[in-house]
Each structure stands twice: as C-alpha cells, then as structure tokens.
C-alpha cells in the first residue's frame, strides 16, 4: 500500500491543472472522418448486441417521446390514469367528487384483491390497498382502511365502491339495480 509507485498515477502523468490552456495535436480531415466512422461502427455493434441499450432507445426515448408528442395535452389525472388504470380512476373519482376534508372508507383489502384478480390486474404495491399510495393522490383527503375502521381516529364521510363492493358499509340501502362497479357515496344520508 505504501510502497513506492512503479507507475505514475494518471493525475500525475498528465498536465493536471489549467488544462484549459492545453491544446491537441491538429487532426486531419481523414483522421476526423475515420474517428467518426470507428465510433459509429462500435455504437451500431453495441446497439445490435445489447438489449439494454435497445431498451434505452426504443422504450425510454422513442416510445416515450412518441407518446408525449401524440398526446401532448393530457391532464395530470389522465397521465396518471394512463399508468395505473382502475387504481387511479378510483382516486381521481374521490378528488373530483369530495371536499378536501373528506375521509373515505375503503372495502376490505381481500375484496379489492379479488376484484383485481378477476380483472387480471397485476398484484403490485401501487394499489388500492396501499394507504400511503392512495393518500398521496387524494391529498389532503384521508383514507380509512376497512381493517382499521374500528380504531381509526377519523370518522369516514364517504365510502369507496370498488367492484360493486362496499355497499354494506353504507348506513342506508342501495337497490341492486342502482349498484355500480365503481362509485363514491356518502356514508350516511
């Protein structure tokens, strides 16, 4: 470790400071073109032989920028809904149809999970059973999970209906023919 270096450190072997004043040897036109061609060949080879670089170009650049140019005027809500579908549509409904002090009671997480399963939606963290996730998008409104309804300090003002589930949490009956797949209703009339 402390033995004397046999080779110089790169920092020592090149002019270190005031590189701004250093210049390069002049480059000829053919060297310039040759260097460009060499780089192009290397990049084409890397691109064709590596999925990860293809992903950068095809997905992160081409697809995303293409989508953005195709739909430049989507609202915030529409953009989030594009990514999260049903999950965000419930949150959006809450924001659009309640005051900022609303407290929304959600159906049991097992029910929500079964709805997701029936709809063949992937089981992920960003879902309607994740309280933090939901409260971020409905902020400053609050959510009360079914499982915490007995202990929660907040008193629910509304019930989120998801997959026709949650009507039993209302203090009044709703006729079967009026029941919707997704809805938001006051907890009492």
């Amino acid at each position: 470790m402390s033995k004397k270096s046999k080779t110089q450190s790169p920092e020592k072997s090149l002019p270190k400071q005031n590189q701004a004043s250093s210049t390069q040897e002049p480059i000829s036109f053919y060297q310039n073109i040759g260097l460009v061609l060499a780089l192009v060949v290397v990049f084409v080879f890397l691109y064709n032989n590596n999925n990860a670089y293809q992903w950068v170009y095809k997905v992160l650049l081409k697809d995303h920028v293409g989508f953005i140019k195709k739909f430049p005027d989507l609202s915030y809500e529409e953009k989030v809904e594009t990514k999260f579908g049903l999950d965000y549509s419930v949150q959006r409904m809450i924001v659009e149809r309640t005051d900022e002090n609303a407290v929304v009671l959600f159906p049991p997480s097992t029910v929500i999970d079964s709805v997701r399963k029936a709809k063949k939606m992937p089981n992920r963290s960003e879902s309607l059973t994740n309280k933090d996730w939901i409260e971020y998008y409905i902020y400053p409104r609050k959510m009360v999970a079914y499982e915490e309804r007995g202990t929660a300090k907040l008193k629910p003002t509304h019930v989120a209906i998801i997959g026709k589930q949650g009507y039993d949490l209302l203090s009044y009956p709703v006729p079967t023919e009026q029941r919707k797949f997704r809805d938001l209703l006051p907890i009492s009339r």
Binding site: P10, E25, L39, V80, D132
Partner: protein, 454 residues
Amino acid sequence: MVFLFIILLPLLSGWIIVNSLNTGLNTPIKIGASYNLGIGLISFSGFFCNLIGMKFGLLGLVLPIIIACGILVGLNFKELKTRFVPQFKLLKSEYQLYAWWLLLALIMYLLYGAYMRAVYWPITEYDSVCGYDYVAKYLVAEHSFDNTLLRSKDFLTGNRYLYPAFVASADAYGYLVGLKNAHLITWLQYASFLLAFYGLVRHVAHPVIAILATFMMSVTPDFFAHASFSLTNIPNAIFSSLGMIALVMYFAKPERGLLLFAALFIGLGLWCRVDAIVYYILSFFMLALFAFMHKKYMDLMLFALIGIIPYAAWNIFTTQVLHVSASAGFIDHLGVDTEKISVIGAYVYDLVILPNQQYALTFCVFWIVLMANIQFILDEFFNVVTFFLFGLVMYAGLFYFIDNAKTGVSTKVYMEMALKRGLFTLVPLAWYFFANNPLMIKLQEKVDFLRQRN
C-alpha cells in the same frame, strides 16, 4: 419564479461557493458542480433552519445561502473578475473534432428525451409517492419536518425517517416557488452532472475520450431512466461520485480547496441517503491514511467534520424530535450467515460482473480495463479503483447487517429494490477509470491526434 429559484439561484450560489474554494478545477466542472451544490445546500438549509426553530419556508431555504454568497463575494471583492467570471478557453480545443460533435449530439438527444419524460409524466415512482414527494406535500402544508406524516406510526410512513430529506426538501422548495413537476430538479441535476463529469475527465484526457466516457456513462440504462425520476438514487450518485473523484484529484494534488469541495459533496450524498455513509467512511479512511503519510491532519479533520454535518443533523432530528432511531433495523449480534452472504454474492455477481439490463456494459468495461491495467491497482492505492472496489464491497456488505426479521423485508427484496439502484454511485467511477488509466494515457501519447500539448 421557477427560473429564478429553481435554475438561477442554485447555479449562481453554487458557482460563488465553488469558485471561493480555489479548487483549480476547469469551468465545465465548476458549472456542473455548481447547480448540484446549490440545490443541495438550499435543501439542507431549509431543514437546518427548521431544526433550529424557524418555519420551513422560502426564507430558511434561500436566505442563509444568499447571505453566505454575499459574504464570499465581499471577501473576494478585489478578485471579482478573475475568480467569478467563467473561462471558456477549454472549448477551443474541441470544435475541430467531428467525433466530439457527434457524441455531443447523442448526449443532447439523451437529455432531450429525459427532459420530455421528466416534465410530462407526473410523479408516480413508488418511493416518492409513498415517501419523498409525499413528505414534501406535508412540508409545504405544515411548514415543518416535525409534521403529521413523519410522526405517523404507520409502517411505511414510520420508515420515512430512514431517508434524509434532500429530495423531500428540494421538492418542497420547488412547490413553494410554483414548480409543477419536481422531476425537473432531478433532470437539472443530471444535466449539470454530465457537464461536471465531462470537465473532470477532460482534466486528464483528450476531448474525444472525455466525451465518450460521458456519453457511455449517461446512456447506462437504469442511470438514464432515473434522470427523470424524483428519487434519491441519482442525486446520491451525483454527490457521492463527485466527492470521491474530487478526493482522488486531491490525493494527486493536495490542495485545501479540492478537499473542501470533496467534503461538501460527500456530505450532500449523506443528505440523500443514509447508506451513503459507506462512501463517507471509505473516503475518511483513505484520507486518514493519506493524512498520516503526508501530515495533513487539519484536512482530515475538516473533511470529517464537514462531511458528517448533514447526517448528524438528520440523526439529531430523528432521535431528539421524532424519537426514532435509524439504526433500529440493523443486527445487534455477530455471526456468519452463509445463506445471506450467498444471496448477496449472487446478486452482486449478476449486477456487477455480467452484462445486464440495469448497467448494460458499464461494469464489464470496468473489469476489462482493470484487468488490462492490473499492475496499476497493485501500485497505486489512492485512486478511483480503490474507491470502486471498496465501495462495492462495503455497499453490498451493508445489506448483510440489516436484520430482516426486524425490518420484515427479505435480503432478496433488498437486493432487487435497493442494491441495483445503490450501485449508481459506481457508474461514474467506472467510466472515469475507463478514461483515466495508464493504458489510455499511453494510447493518447502514441496516437498523434489524441496527444495533448501545453
């Protein structure tokens, strides 16, 4: 408002501080580092003022920085022109190189794509929605870090204190001045960092080599994807890698300005993520060794003190105000868990040795260049390779000490969620070494048009 506070103020304040340090760095590094330093210090200032009793708001965020910059300009008033006016002589060497323009165009295209994604898509990153940006909303609403959210005992919420508040505070700063999408801050950091990295490599390499290393670093898949996310990983990688590369330059030419520059950035890395403590400890030990060899004890003390301030302040806040401990999730007994070691080892092998979706060829190139320069690592200790190798071992090793039973998260999940992004810090180190190794230096000496002359 947004231009003034989100772009101009961080850039200008960072510029004044960086130039006051007398680092001898070139203009691209200083401009690129300035934005990152400025936004980092503004974010920390807001927290620090809140910690000592002020409301979290614009006053606490910007006033200390403006006052500090005013003092620095006042102290250097006689050298105003020589010290604070940017010099662009460097670029005179690059304009004749077609390859340089080609690579610049590719970098600009990447930045354009990242910018479009950053400003178009709302924040939907899980860790930001359930973490940093959510905290930012409460900071704006309640004007305090001691807020309802951070005090909540909910499982996810309760773990938010594990992350120091760079992103939360910077996002909140953005919202206070009317910023619609906080992704822009990360993008600005990323774009500035590319400039700084180019300048760092340009210090020691030909313009084409420097811009090639910059391009290859910027196109590293996951690294690039995160340039449009409001997460801690890119800011941490930027701060920590800038700090470590600056320290490598300090080892070659031990000037106090460079040391302070390194200390500020290593400290800001810790202001993003607690696990950046690995890079602080590593830097500290390398610097300690250097300090004992060269009798630079004051430099060591300054580094140790400045680098730890954000972490210490955050720890004081979490333990004294929130009454929680970030160390609660670590093991409290020693023993050898071979299964855990093999899980960590397997993931490290997949991520760092083999070509993969996250890093493409970045680390493969590093190992190839390292093998080609094997004598170099045996001879030189105070270089970027030491930071890379020890950084990798220490960062991966950190997961061994997490008590999975206490946190309720398996090692496998930590590997998949945390390790792969945690290695971002090593990406700039890998590409810096690609441009700055004995073989590359020899190549530049042999090939006439790659040669530099003074």
